[in-house]
Symmetry: D2
Subunit: 149 residues, 4 copies
Amino acid sequence: MPVADAPTPRDVAELMRRSEGPTALLDIALDSIGTGHATASLTLDDRMLNGFGSAHGGILFLLADQAFAYACNSENIATVAQGGSITFLSPSRRGERIIAEATRSGQAGRTGVYDVQVRTGDGRLLAIFQGLSRSLERPVIETQNAGSD
Amino acid sequence: MPVADAPTPRDVAELMRRSEGPTALLDIALDSIGTGHATASLTLDDRMLNGFGSAHGGILFLLADQAFAYACNSENIATVAQGGSITFLSPSRRGERIIAEATRSGQAGRTGVYDVQVRTGDGRLLAIFQGLSRSLERPVIETQNAGSD
Amino acid sequence: MPVADAPTPRDVAELMRRSEGPTALLDIALDSIGTGHATASLTLDDRMLNGFGSAHGGILFLLADQAFAYACNSENIATVAQGGSITFLSPSRRGERIIAEATRSGQAGRTGVYDVQVRTGDGRLLAIFQGLSRSLERPVIETQNAGSD
Amino acid sequence: MPVADAPTPRDVAELMRRSEGPTALLDIALDSIGTGHATASLTLDDRMLNGFGSAHGGILFLLADQAFAYACNSENIATVAQGGSITFLSPSRRGERIIAEATRSGQAGRTGVYDVQVRTGDGRLLAIFQGLSRSLERPVIETQNAGSD
C-alpha cells in the first residue's frame, strides 16, 4: 500500500480555493505559493471600484487577506485569521492588475504575523497589510497515518 | 432663484452608492445614516463564504469599511480611509444577514477614528473594525454659494 | 472556617499594581475599576515627553495598555494582551493630567476587544487605543475551594 | 563662507535624543541609524516589568516607537507618528537586552509605513510593531540656504 505523501503548499492552497466564494467571484489567481509565503492577484473591474474610480479598500483587503490565508496554511496546519490591518497608500484604476505578496514575519506558539504588500503590476505600492493568524492544531488535508495493512 | 439646501447625510451616501461597484455586486443596503454614523448590511451567499462556510474576512472588512465610508462622509466633507483594522470574533453561515454599524469615536484636525461593530441579524458579534479617516477639505456634493442677484 | 469571598475588580487590580514596575515609575493612579472597565491616569513630567514637548507616544500607549489590563482582568480571569493599536490625535504638554478610560467592546471565547480613550483632565482627546486580549483560563487570585478537613 | 553640510541620519537622531524624556529615563541606546532604518535597545530592569515578570507591553511599544521615530526622521524631514500597532509574541525577563530594529516598508506622499521587530539579544522575537508616519514637510535641523552676499 502506498504511503501518502505530505501535501505541498500548493495542494493545500488549491483545496482551499475550490471552496472559497470570493476566489471565483473576483477571479483571484494564485501566482506563487511556498512555505510561509504566497502571491495572489486580480484585475480591477467596475465591480471592484469605489466612487473615486480606485480599488475599493475592501477589495484590496480581501485580496491581501487571501494571500495571507494561503501563506499561513501552507504547512498543512489549519490556520485562521484572528484579524488584520491595512494602510492605503496610493490610488489605482480600472484595468490594473493588483498583486498581493504575503510573507511570514514572525511566529510564536499558535500565533503568526504575516505582512502583505499590495502592488500594481508595474510595482506601485497601493497598500500594506498585516495579518495575525492562529493555528487550530489540525491538518487542512488529512494524511494517511501509518496504519497496519 | 432657490437657495440650495445643504446636502443631508443620506444625500451624500446615496450619491456615493451610485458609483460604488461592491454595493451593487454584493447588494449592500444602507439601513440608517446620520451625522457621524451609518449602518449597512448584506445577506451572506455562497460567493461571500470562505472554505469553512463562514463569511470571508474580506467580505466582513468590506461591509464594515462601507459603513465607515458613509459615516465619515456624512457631513459632506470628502473623506477617505487611510486604513482600517479588524478583529474576527465569531463564525457566521450562509443566509445570515450581516449588519455593520459605524460610529465616530474621535476626531482631531483632518483625522477621524471610527468604530464599527459587525453583527448578525440576531445580534451575535462577528467582528470589530476600526477605521482611520482623513478629510480632503472639499465637499462631496458641491453646493450653491450665495451668489449675487 | 470562613468562606473566601470572590475577589472584586479592585482586589484584582490592586494585586496587579503591587508588582508592576511602570505603575511606580510613572506614578500611575487607578481612578476607577469595575467589571470590564477601568480608568487610570498620570501627570506628564519631563521624563515622559518627546522632543516636541508633548507626551511620548510610548507613554500614552503604556497608560492605555495599563487601563486595558485592569479592565480585562477585572473578572479575576488571568488575561494577557495579545496586542494593541493606537492612533494619536492631539499633542499635550508638561503638567497635564492624562486619563485613560478602558471599556470592553466585544468578547468571544477567550478573545476580548477593549477600547481606550486617552484624554486630558479637561477632556481633550489625545489618542484612541484598541487592545486585543486572550484569557489564560485561570484565576488571577486563587479563591478557596470548598475543601474538606 | 562654508556651505552647510546636510545633516546625517545620526545627526538628526542625536538631536532628537537630547530632548526625549524616556531615552534618559530608560537608558535607551541608539545602536545603528541610516536612511529609513534604525536600531534602539535597552536592558530590562524591575521598573519595566509587568506582574508576570516580563517586559510591560508599554515598554516594548515605547522602544519600538523610538526606533521608528529615528528611522522616519532620518532624512531630516520632521515626521511624526500617526499611530502604531504591536503584537506580543513571547515573554521576556529581567536583565535581558531588548533590541528594536525599524525599517521603512512603504511610503507614498506624506505617509510612511515602518515595521519594527523587537527581539532579545539572543534573537528571540518578542513583538512585531508597525507604525504609520506623517511628514510635516519641514526639516528637523535647519540647514543654511544659499543666501545672498
